[in-house]
Symmetry: C2
Subunit: 319 residues, 2 copies
């Protein structure tokens, strides 16, 4: 419960990378031509759960004590962290309860349940999801596995950076990644100390970028705009993420829904990859000319869990 | 022009693999759970042209003499070989003319032209595409790059098998691959002498399977059934392919349109990959229980070039 009492470390990232390499093959790092520049895409949509969140969940759950495992885990997630926790919990024989919004994509709800987790629905934005989780924890004594504000989760997500360095043969000049609460970009910052790390967020939900600019945590407005990036809607980052990113991360970049849709279509037609809206945010920034690109730039595609009807509408829409 | 006068060799496959490794990174070999068995998918849909045909085209065009290069190349293709030849020709500064059917997917026509090739349309089934190509060759003196009945093309496609062995760390027990004229399966037979090679074809277009069973070339009926596998409709294999495959390839497997559609949906939702109908034929056979699967089985996904509207219809259809 007091998991935020320690700071994540580069050593922890290296340990996470070793644990994850023993479990999963590296996801492909593929060359791509973006606006005439040959750079790289890191295909975390090709993970077994279709998203990078398997990394942090695995590093966190394998660090639980036997007593903690017996009490089970509790997570709050729009769907990919949910699947990561559910997948890791099943592998380890741990009970998992996941608090998910009513408007999460059906594929994410179905997959989380298929991995054996109990899904508890809350209505957003009215209901306080952290409050729902706290009630469950009070009742069960379960261990909260926070989606981004947790040292093990940050280290686990950072393992992606260790893989990238091995695959590229050097540290990238720049890694641009879709950003929700800031767990992945914090982990990448630890993994790749020489790389510029660029968080990319939906317009109006760019709370990490705004927090970096302000030097303190900025919370989303009470009536934030709609976004198609279901995976990138936390109301605020956490201090642990901001402490790692401050002075380390590039200024954030924000992208529109139209830019995200264009990126999903590009991934479909040019890369032959299925990418969910939030997973395409960094690619959207690159295509929109909002990122400096060079041959050592890596664009992370974080996930591919998208409802078929939504994806069909996206790819068949007029450009 | 008399390129069929020599037989392709394993040494030629190894040379092709070296040339292609210098040009392109290996395509991912990803683990996949199919009918409860963990096996492997080889993702040739992630090639720069979205299909494996870049291999044979590169090996063939780089073997041309300067005089042949000056006269240009001519190909006949429903679209992926077209793109492979067009891509290689552009890289080498060679003129390319490609004969394509009127009903080829628009994305394949567009991409072939975008790589700088001249596209000559023929109407199928009325017009004789080989006759159209012969007329162009008579006029220009260009070199025919046959889509499958060519020793360099066969060796080039076989380079995929060399990659698979490196990635898997051993020869697969079995490689199942979508099959049109039989260039790829012939190349894989040379590359992986200990692996069972299984050609998978659309029902009614299983001319390689039928030819293997008959011990001689069998030609498609004058009114073959419709198939959604636009890439797998040659009217007959060639002697060079049959000579390699005879006594070497497993009996062929045939799949229905419905099985292919189910495989495309599986690739979308479980693998997060875009696969065209013909590219999903071997996966379709695996999912339909028509293939023996084990942990050393490799399923080849040959391509991902599919029109957006067609793909939208496929993934959003009721199952």
């Amino acid at each position: 419960m007091n998991s935020t009492s320690r700071m994540p470390t580069r050593q922890g990232v290296l340990e996470a990378a070793e644990k994850i390499a023993a479990l999963l093959p590296p996801t492909p790092l593929l060359p791509a031509q973006i606006n005439g520049v040959r750079c790289w895409v890191k295909c975390e949509n090709l993970q077994p759960i279709g998203a990078f969140k398997i990394r942090g969940a695995w590093h966190r759950l394998t660090a639980l004590s036997d007593g903690e495992k017996a009490r089970g885990v509790v997570a709050v997630s729009s769907g990919n962290h949910a699947q990561g926790v559910a997948w890791a919990a099943r592998e380890l024989g741990v009970d998992a309860k996941v608090v998910m919004p009513h408007d999460a994509p059906q594929v994410k709800l179905d997959a989380t349940r298929a991995f054996g987790a109990e899904v508890v629905i809350y209505r957003r934005p009215e209901e306080d999801r952290d409050g729902v989780a706290a009630q469950i924890i009070e009742r069960t004594g379960g261990v909260l596995v926070h989606a981004f504000g947790d040292p093990w989760v940050i280290e686990g997500q950072g393992s992606m950076g260790i893989e990238i360095v091995t695959q590229l043969g050097r540290e990238p000049s720049r890694i641009a990644a879709p950003c929700g609460g800031g767990g992945l970009v914090a982990g990448l910052s630890l993994a790749c100390p020489s790389s510029a790390i660029v968080p990319v967020e939906p317009e109006g939900w760019d709370m990490v970028g705004k927090s970096l600019a302000a030097g303190e945590i900025v919370t989303a407005s009470p009536n934030p705009p709609k976004t198609i990036c279901d995976a990138l809607q936390p109301l605020a980052t956490k201090q642990i993420n901001l402490d790692i990113l401050r002075g380390r991360s590039d200024p954030g970049v924000a992208v529109s829904d139209e830019e995200v849709l264009a990126a999903q279509r590009f991934a479909f037609s040019k890369l032959h990859l299925v990418v969910e809206p939030g997973g395409a945010a960094a690619l959207a920034a690159a295509l929109a000319g909002k990122l400096d690109l060079d041959e050592n730039t890596v664009i992370v595609l974080t996930g591919g869990n998208v409802d078929p009807a939504a994806f069909a509408g996206t790819v068949s829409a007029e450009r």
